[in-house]
């Protein structure tokens, strides 16, 4: 029976290379090996369609709009450099400021929908709630409905003569209005539709986050005598802040870009439109209806800068209130 050989291994015949030199050699070998280059190529090939798509459909239009915003361009091209004339024209147009103000008011109202979504999400995710699936489906329905169809149904509901909104108001003895034609109410009426149709997505996001909150936290809170509201305030909301932050960023961007609601609910022939139009509708009107693409591009660039600044600002502020568990 052989005894296990416990001697140290025999020295190698050639002198061992220092480790660092071995490493460098291996590196060099890898570097010179063709597959590495082609790996990079393959990588590009895979991300290529996305990169090309983003470049063609996002970056090129941004550059092009930036260029157009400095030109006095006609509806069919023929761009002449005009410096800052479009920006000066835009800033001195009272309609621009009104549209910008409208967009901010609209966004502020839409943001009021976030707390509503948090509360609804918390309610339909309570343990032991029956028909959970039904509630979720109901709240999610607006998300899978065509925005134009949603807008048309709301248009009918808001109708001053036949609309259900006025019927209900008259039943409870409140004053009635032509909600979408009266310049005083049109903007708010549109914001309500936007809140309603945005609720579904927000609830889904909050529901997912709620399911990640460990039940022990609620049990501990209950032991400490916290009621439903206290649990919501001290456990649910703090742990939801990352999702709330996400929803906030998305909502601000979407609301400041609101166009389809104005287009379908109001439209160009509505006397309330000039008073209730949003900034993107103003852009559309300038570019396509009034044939001033240069001015329209200036508006688009201004909106992009505003959105960049707002988003950056929100990212700075989030350090103070968002808890990453």
């Amino acid at each position: 029976m052989n005894v296990v050989d416990k001697r140290p291994p025999a020295p190698m015949h050639h002198r061992a290379e220092p480790a660092d030199r071995q490493w460098r050699k291996a590196q060099r070998r890898l570097w010179y090996r063709r597959p590495r280059v082609s790996e990079a190529l393959w990588g590009w090939l895979f991300v290529g369609p996305m990169v090309i798509g983003v470049a063609i459909f996002y970056f090129w239009p941004i550059l092009r709009s930036a260029y157009l915003s400095f030109t006095a361009s006609g509806p069919f091209g023929g761009n002449k450099w005009s410096g800052l004339a479009n920006y000066r024209g835009m800033l001195s147009d009272s309609e621009f400021w009104l549209a910008l103000r409208n967009s901010f008011v609209f966004t502020a109202i839409v943001l009021l929908g976030i707390p509503v979504a948090v509360v609804v999400a918390a309610l339909i995710n309570r343990r032991g709630l029956r028909l959970k699936g039904v509630y979720r489906a109901l709240y999610f329905l607006p998300v899978v409905t065509m925005p134009t169809a949603v807008a048309l149904v709301w248009k009918a509901m808001y109708n001053g003569q036949y609309g259900i909104v006025n019927r209900i108001l008259s039943a409870v003895g409140l004053p009635q209005h032509n909600w979408l034609v009266d310049p005083h109410y049109a903007l708010y009426a549109m914001a309500v539709v936007s809140v309603w149709s945005g609720l579904g997505t927000q609830i889904v996001i909050f529901s997912a986050a709620l399911q990640d909150i460990p039940p022990e936290l609620y049990e501990a809170a209950e032991c400490d005598g916290a009621g439903w509201y206290r649990q919501l305030r001290s456990v649910t909301v703090p742990l939801l802040t990352p999702s709330i932050f996400f929803v906030l960023i998305i909502s601000v961007i979407q609301s400041l870009q609101a166009f389809d609601l104005v287009f379908v609910l109001l439209g160009p022939n509505n006397p309330a439109t000039p008073q209730a139009e949003t900034i993107v509708y103003y852009f559309y009107d300038r570019t396509f209806l009034q044939h001033e693409p240069g001015m329209g591009s200036a508006v688009a660039i201004a909106l992009m800068l505003i959105l960049l600044a707002l988003t950056g600002w929100q990212f700075r502020l989030q350090r103070r209130w968002v808890h990453y568990a």
């Binding site: 063709r34 069919f76 003569q161 036949y162 034609v181 022939n269 009107d285």
Partner: protein, 421 residues
């Protein structure tokens, strides 16, 4: 081996991508002696008419194939503008009323003057108003394809119930307002007339009837700051004030045509093309009557809006495109178009044929209007001041401002817009 297969895959990918790009840019050419033309239009209802006319053209011109692009009206302007800016534009296209100068001044419409002279095309058949609307800077840029003229439509049942005589060619503004008041029954939610802020059908014709104009003859300033405009605006806003018409808000929410169809309003100023809308409800069509627009202090007048066909200045096969244009506007082409109903052809002869599609209505009204209709006002950027005067006149329709004040506000903003064209 492995390496090569990778390279060839890459090459294949490049070929596919490049192929895709070149395939995109090779449309609208000619192949094997056949010339392909594209013809872009915006009215779904008229598509069968156009398709039939084009088929007749293709019968006699075997080497020309025509593709019709029917774009929904709401997207038409935006789409055409983008197409004309890029390289994929149609050879022939329609222009909305008032927009021919935009295309002509933008260099995207071909000057047809010499072709018309060479072929000795008789433009007088279209009438001087239509010819003036296809002329820009002394040159002709389009051939009229259809004519839109408003008339006074009325619901005979409601007239019978009120014991009133139907409107006729002798009516004046005072006949109109008197009848409107008698036909109004607040308890039934019934109004005598709809007084919407519709420039083409209501406002411009009334300004013409009061002896005014909208734009100066040199096209450089507005003429809305006039007693005629105040009278015209006063006519319509007066009807709202007295309760003979629904409020502006109600008419924005519910289209006046719909109100007329449902018997909620007894009278309506609407275009000839709405005839099809009434015909779609046969029982209703039998109780509809049509008359010329009532005369104002300066007599009878109306607007005549021409929808012209334009040729793309960058079209590859302009000779063939011109052949198609000429065919569509020839007496035979217009007669074919007339036989189908839909948009009314722009010549008196063809308009009379068109009227035969609507035996219920006295559609002679419309062919007569071709003779005395005044042009739909236009300039280089009509859309801009059109929006601005609409906004300026709105307070009058909301009964918040006097007609004269609204007219002078509209004139001011319009003149300023015209100055910056």
């Amino acid at each position: 081996m492995r390496k090569r297969s990778r390279t060839s895959l890459l090459a294949a990918a490049v070929v596919v991508l490049a192929g895709g790009i070149s395939a995109c840019s090779s449309s609208g050419g000619s192949s094997g002696g056949t010339v392909n033309l594209t013809y872009e239009m915006f009215a779904k209802a008229q598509e069968p008419v156009v398709r039939k006319a084009v088929a007749a053209f293709e019968q006699t011109h075997k080497n020309i194939k025509v593709t019709i692009l029917d774009v929904p009206p709401a997207q038409y302007r935006t789409k055409l503008q983008t197409q004309l800016q890029g390289g994929t534009s149609p050879d022939l296209y329609w222009a909305y009323g008032g927009e021919l100068p935009l295309y002509a001044s933008g260099g995207v419409a071909a000057d047809l003057t010499s072709r018309i002279a060479k072929d000795k095309l008789d433009m007088s058949a279209f009438g001087s108003t239509a010819v003036s609307s296809v002329t820009y800077d002394g040159k002709i840029y389009g051939l009229p394809h259809s004519a839109a003229v408003p008339a006074l439509w009325s619901n005979k049942k409601l007239f019978d119930a009120a014991g009133l005589k139907y409107p006729d060619a002798t009516w004046t503004w005072s006949d109109l307002t008197r009848a409107a008041a008698k036909l109004t029954d607040a308890s039934k939610g019934q109004y005598g007339i709809a007084a919407p802020m519709n420039m083409q059908s209501n406002v411009y014709p009334a300004i013409y009837q009061a002896g005014g104009t909208i734009i100066s003859s040199d096209g450089k300033s507005s003429t809305l700051d006039s007693p005629a405009c105040a009278q015209a605006v006063g006519l319509w806003t007066g009807l709202i004030k007295s309760g003979s018409s629904p409020s502006l808000a109600d008419m924005v929410e519910t289209d006046p045509n719909t109100m007329f169809l449902s018997g909620k309003v007894a009278m309506l100023y609407a275009l000839n093309s709405t005839a099809d809308q009434w015909m779609a409800a046969p029982a209703f069509a039998n109780s509809v009557d049509v008359a010329p627009l009532p005369a104002g202090s300066a007599g009878q007048a109306t607007t005549l809006t021409s929808v012209p066909i334009l040729m793309n200045a960058k079209a590859k096969h302009q000779d063939q495109a011109w052949q198609l244009m000429e065919f569509l506007s020839s007496p035979q082409g217009l007669a074919d178009q007339a036989g189908q109903g839909g948009a009314m052809p722009p010549t008196t002869a063809a308009a009379k044929l068109w009227a035969k599609n609507y035996p219920q209505f006295d559609t002679k009204v419309f062919s007569d209007e071709l003779a005395y209709g005044k042009p739909y006002p236009q300039s280089k950027n009509t859309a801009k001041w059109f929006k601005d005067i609409t906004t300026a006149l709105t307070p009058a329709w909301q009964l918040k401002s006097s007609p004269a004040d609204a007219c002078s506000a509209a004139a001011k903003v319009m003149t300023s817009d015209l100055g910056s064209e």
